[in-house]
Amino acid sequence: MTDEPSFEQARDELEQIVRKLEDGNTTLDEAIGLWERGEQLHALCRAQLDQAEARVAELLRRMDDAADKP
């Protein structure tokens, strides 16, 4: 896996972690590690979504400008 996983990869991993923690079969040490990794993945996804949202907003703004012009 590359350093920067794709949004979908990160999200899928996050959901796996949540399911593992819900099962309750993990040791505390493992749980802490998983939780930490989960928080990390969440931050990653969040950042990517924010980025995507900003790009879409920019594109829509440009399209509207073009439509208003003629």
């Binding site: 999200r11 959901e15 505390l28 802490i32 939780w35 995507a52 879409v56």
Partner: protein, 410 residues
Amino acid sequence: MSAKPVPISYGDRRVFSVSGFNQGIAWYLKRLPAIWVEGEIAELRRNDRWGFVFITLKDTDGRSTLSATMTRQRFDALEPSPQVGERVHALGRGEIWERRGELRLAVIKLERFGIGMLLQQIEVLRARLAAEGLFAAERKRPLPFLPRTIGLVCGSDAAAKRDVIETAEERYPPARFRVLEVPVQGAGAPARIAGALRLLDADPGVDVIVLARGGGSVEDLLAFSDELVCRAVAACSTPVVSAIGHEQDSPLVDQVADVRAGTPSLAAKLIVPDYAAETARLDTLLARAGRALEGNTARSRRLLELLASRPAFRSPETWISIRRERLCTAAEGLRRAAPDRIQRETLRLRHDHERLRLLGPAATLERGYAIVQDSAGAVLRDAAATAPSKEIAVRLGRGGVRATVTEVHE
């Protein structure tokens, strides 16, 4: 029968019986050589059941006749079969029919001469040219609809010439002729006719050639059955119409020509269209075309009006606006797609995160508890698990700290 008869003696008189006399004549006749006799066939009796054919020959003046016989086998071998009225040369021996004492000529060989011979020669030539394919239908070329110049080969000052030209001009006044007058009978005629044909064929303005000759006896028309003339016609690249004699005459050139016209005036009808008739036909066609066109136009107009009355044509902006609406819907869909997806993912992520937080120690840490881990990340539950100067990590409600152990209480 062929033995020399013996007479009966009555004193010093020697007498022959009838049969003896006949036998004697027969005996003498047999010693004569075969002789050629010229005559006309006056009578001919042939029957499939008979071994002989009985012929009566006569002189042309009709005063003397001679009975003749010929074996049916020999007679049937003659091609074409001799007919009454034909003049022949018969080679035969005098023979007596002993029972009746009648003299007759036993014919060995029978040949036509005069016209008969000529006709026979023509038949031989006809067969030869036919075998060469000169009469073949696929060699025949069509006549032009309207010839620029009509080549005409005919006798000098001939009625045939007048017939062709007058009939042609009556039908088609602007008809143009190039006339070559040549001798049409006699020894030199075939070469002159052939020469005239070649000359007209070489003229690029001549689109059709007519070979015309009025009626005449078989001998008069001989030139038109001459091989020279037949071959000249066959060699022409210009279509040739033959118009020789009367309808019933059939010289060889008729079969070589591209079209055979029975008579000179029939030829004229074949080579030029009837101007008046053609004009009338054209007028009729034009009128019909005009009516058809009118009908067509009216039908087309109705169809067009029907089409024009459809909404799409009456207000062309409607079909543009329909498309514009569709485009807008698509564009809106496109615009919504990305934000929608982002929103969906955000919700899902938030949901995942909430579950993560519920499961995690965050709430406990919020209340002031902390998690301590050694440098390997293992959670410390017992002070004995660490020692002074060791690195530890402390996780708090918000953030964490790294610290060094200074003292350990057991």
